[in-house]
Symmetry: C2
Subunit: 213 residues, 2 copies
DNA sequence: TCACTGATACTTGTATGCTAGTTTGTGTTT
DNA sequence: AAACACAAACTAGCATACAAGTATCAGTGA
């Protein structure tokens, strides 16, 4: 089977994950040599993985110099938020049309509810679940191209935490919105639900836009 | 400078172009060997280009077997049309916000007007310009991530021509809609314009959806 | 005639070597 | 001490060699 080609995939996913989780900090170097020894393989698969990451905007490659984790500007974050808003609005509409089961979504929201926002660890869990909720929305749509497109957006931890209200009060407000989104989804109210989903995400985009110095 | 790495870029663009223009037919084989002799280089750059094309959904790579131009199903076309609709709606909104100059757009529409739809050659030109119009809309937005995302959609000739009304009558109707879009853009009427742009594109999506057999 | 088997010629996957450009650090000069 | 120049060490770009899986086709058996 196609187990061989999975090496590149695995390296790509791994590095991407570490970038999104800020384990590889923006600006830090990704050397083909050191990575190839990390993964116990030659430079070739590492190289292809880095090329893919470059294509997706996670990495900047300077020829004959090195590959570096991309440092995103506020403008980049704004642009990503804009695209994201529209992609997720589409996802919501498709989910209404497909009459998807809201069970999995409810489960995530319930798990988020039980996070204690005074405990930093659980705040982290809350953020992870928050992203899960949105990712699930895209996955459920059944549009593979939409999912691929969404996954290529550099939605790293920094971008996700930006202007997030991580207090207990903030959690309550966020969850209220999420439950409202789920209500619209349950009622298959694409028009009003999409509008609400749009507003939910576009607000963040506007935060990026305003915070330009 | 970074002239070396441009080889991959060039090969990628070239193959992508040929796929979009149906010069490489869906299902046809893209051998690394024959391509590397075509471009007078080794397999390495060709290979990286193909990997990128695979990532973008233009090519299917079967391990130890070969790379093939992806054969898109109606469902794929539908999915692409869905994503496209939302991306271009975003582009329109951004163009309103940025108060872009409608001059270049008018120029394209004028050129389209002068195409004789009884002449197959000019029908081709009309289609090219039609795509240009939509691409320009995305380019003008100033959102690089949006542009990259849009370019990665497999909007090939087949998909673009599908259910296109290529008669003189069809041209008139299409152009009316385009001029209306431009009107909204000139008035910076993001809300109503976006709605119109959305309908303009979503109709095509629905055509794909209905034509499922 | 058909079904199966096996060898062969293909394909891509991976490793490695070489080249050319960039960075860095050291030693010299002022 | 500071600035410059040069050399050495590092980087990725690309070519090539080998490994391993896949498809094809001829030949043999029934």
């Amino acid at each position: 089977m196609a187990t061989r080609t999975a090496i590149i995939e695995q390296i790509y996913d791994d590095i991407r994950d570490k970038i999104l989780k800020n384990e590889y900090a923006p600006g830090s170097k990704l050397s083909e040599n050191s990575l190839s020894s990390d993964y116990n393989c030659s430079r070739t698969p590492v190289r292809e993985a880095i090329k893919r990451l470059e294509q997706d905007g996670f990495v900047t490659v300077l020829p004959q110099s090195g590959s570096y984790v991309k440092e995103l500007t506020l403008k980049d974050y704004q642009h990503i938020a804009e695209v994201r808003t529209y992609l997720e609005s589409l996802a919501f509409r498709l989910n209404c049309e497909n009459e998807v089961d809201i069970g999995p979504f409810s489960a995530i929201l319930d798990a988020m509810d039980s996070c204690d926002m005074e405990n930093p660890n659980e705040v982290m869990t809350f953020s992870d679940l928050h992203f899960q909720f949105h990712l699930e929305m895209v996955k459920a749509s059944g549009n593979e191209i939409l999912l691929t497109t969404f996954n290529r957006l550099n939605l790293n931890t920094n971008s996700l935490l930006f202007y997030q209200r991580l207090s207990t009060q903030g959690k309550i407000q966020t969850q209220e919105e999420h439950r409202k989104i789920l209500d619209f989804l349950e009622k298959r109210d694409a028009t009003r639900g999409e509008k609400f989903m749009f507003a939910h995400l576009w607000r963040k985009r506007n935060a990026y836009k305003r915070s330009r110095v």
